[in-house]
Symmetry: C2
Subunit: 322 residues, 2 copies
């Protein structure tokens, strides 16, 4: 499936195709693979050199909206905002007074919504059912519904996750593909190449994306994927206007880790073993999470472990030079 | 889908459930969640303590079959052995004289098979059609066919890969899920918990799993996932008897990188930009690949870039302590 035509269907204003910043003045000379004229070739070469120059610099962290509160008065979409880590984080977010908190989750929990709605008169809390494993077009439709209503969205938090290494396809679909698709679905509304205002993405990955719990290799790999994807998003900011950072919780006492299956049952006691070591509470995790949101640092790899918040420096083993 | 019952269907001899090494003498006291007797609880606690002790040590690299040739006289399954990097690697492998090289690929290329078959009288080259995106049970059936014929297999190389960030689902299905499923499918034939002889897995990941080409975030994330999965496999050797290492090629001049789509067309010229920097040939890559196979180092993260072979040391940002 080609995503671009799919995204166009939904009546989103955009140019005939995505065109990168440098090529915007001559989109066709660059994007058309059947270049023929010598003149076209000339333009092509100059542009290529320009890009080689402009791209071959180390990425600098950027603060977006530095000084301004990234929550107060803002419109926030929180995928899995009623989940294990989600619910306490939603509580902490509402305390900081966003204008709108739109919670997308698989199951509606009216009691939870009611609680969040009653917490802060400045904040309107709404709910839409959403399963991140639906086809991309469904995610785009939901985004359109939300944007039609709110006009602007400032922050998208992707927090859907499952932990069960008997369920290979589902683990990958929720933890990795779900994050990619939800992100892809919001892009037409934010992408500066289409006149969009930009936006911020906070992806809940995991410390197991840094170094795995090897007894659940599929879960950890799906988290490593979400982490890598988020790092790439952050480097795409000059093109898209969208910033991104990853939230990587350590072992947090939730129902998710109370009991779960290891891959091929390599370790039937993996949950018990894990919980025999120090952990953090969802409340501690939520507090660190909101700190990270307020830091609003593009490209940050946040480690939220044992009640602390720390920015990780990723090791460079290789460079694409582009 | 629960994979374990699925794997059982195919007539593979195994115990009623996978049981981890430490618990093998008392499998039910550990695996049964409805433990009732005080005695049972006692056994449980001792075993848990034992594991905490035995597991809480840093993983040491292990050489398996050190000194012995990991190719000559061996039976090798090569998924995508006729592919971009695959074909030249198959040539190099055949030169080293395995007993059997079983190539699994989407498309049969009779000319390629003929060429490989004629290269070394010591080596029998065979072919089975295989698409890594088939359901796990199909992969298990194919493994059974191969094991029925060869009796033993020494090395599985997972090399299926696509590069096209317009195709999110397919990229994830081939590069990540395909690697996991093919690995999962061979485990019942190798797993020492079922009396299997162990085996070696070489997963072709990518340097973009270390640090991404951010213009193709989905591809790079799928490779980061395959890399993480492989690192976990290597740490599971004490349980499974199966060793694993990753093969991470840098940019290699193949049809794969001649032209490919970036995510949301963030960079229409990504292939040209990439190829404007130094690359390696598939032949160089293949030679490094065979060197790595011969090193046969469990847990190794091999970087194969610009004609060189180098072992990467992964940074520890977090430890599960189990």
């Amino acid at each position: 499936m080609k995503y671009f035509p799919e995204l166009l269907k939904h009546g989103i204003a955009c140019t005939p195709r995505y065109v990168s910043k440098v090529s915007s003045s001559k989109p066709h000379s660059l994007s058309n693979s059947k270049r023929k004229s010598t003149d076209g070739d000339h333009v092509w070469k100059i542009s290529l050199l320009k890009r080689l120059k402009s791209n071959n610099t180390d990425f600098k962290d950027q603060k977006k909206g530095g000084g301004k509160d990234a929550i107060a008065g803002k419109n926030i979409i929180f995928v899995a905002g009623l989940g294990c880590i989600g619910m306490d984080t939603s509580r902490e977010i509402v305390k900081s007074g966003p204008k709108n908190l739109v919670i997308l989750d698989r199951l509606e929990k009216p009691e939870a919504i009611k609680e969040l709605s009653g917490m802060n008169p400045k904040t309107k809390v709404t709910f839409h059912p959403y399963d991140v494993t639906v086809p991309l077009e469904e995610s785009v439709k939901l985004m359109k519904t939300i944007f039609d209503k709110l006009k602007t969205v400032d922050l998208l938090i992707n927090g859907a996750g499952i932990l069960d290494d008997h369920e290979i396809e589902q683990t990958i679909a929720v933890n990795f593909t779900g994050t990619v698709n939800t992100t892809t679905a919001i892009m037409p509304f934010w992408d500066k190449r289409q006149g969009g205002p930009g936006g911020v993405i906070a992806n809940i990955c995991s410390v197991t994306g840094f170094n795995s719990i090897y007894q659940v290799p599929v879960y950890c790999a799906s988290k490593a994927a979400a982490l890598s994807f988020t790092m790439s998003l952050a480097r795409l900011t000059p093109v898209t206007g969208v910033t991104a950072y990853s939230i990587n919780p350590g072992i947090t006492k939730t129902t998710l880790v109370n009991k779960f299956n290891s891959w091929l049952d390599v370790e039937p006691c993996v949950a018990q073993l894990l919980l025999a070591h120090p952990t953090q509470t969802t409340k501690q995790c939520a507090k660190s999470f909101v700190k990270a949101i307020k830091e609003n640092k593009n490209g940050a790899i946040w480690k939220l472990d044992l009640g602390t918040l720390e920015a990780i420096k990723w090791t460079k083993h290789w460079d694409s030079h582009i």
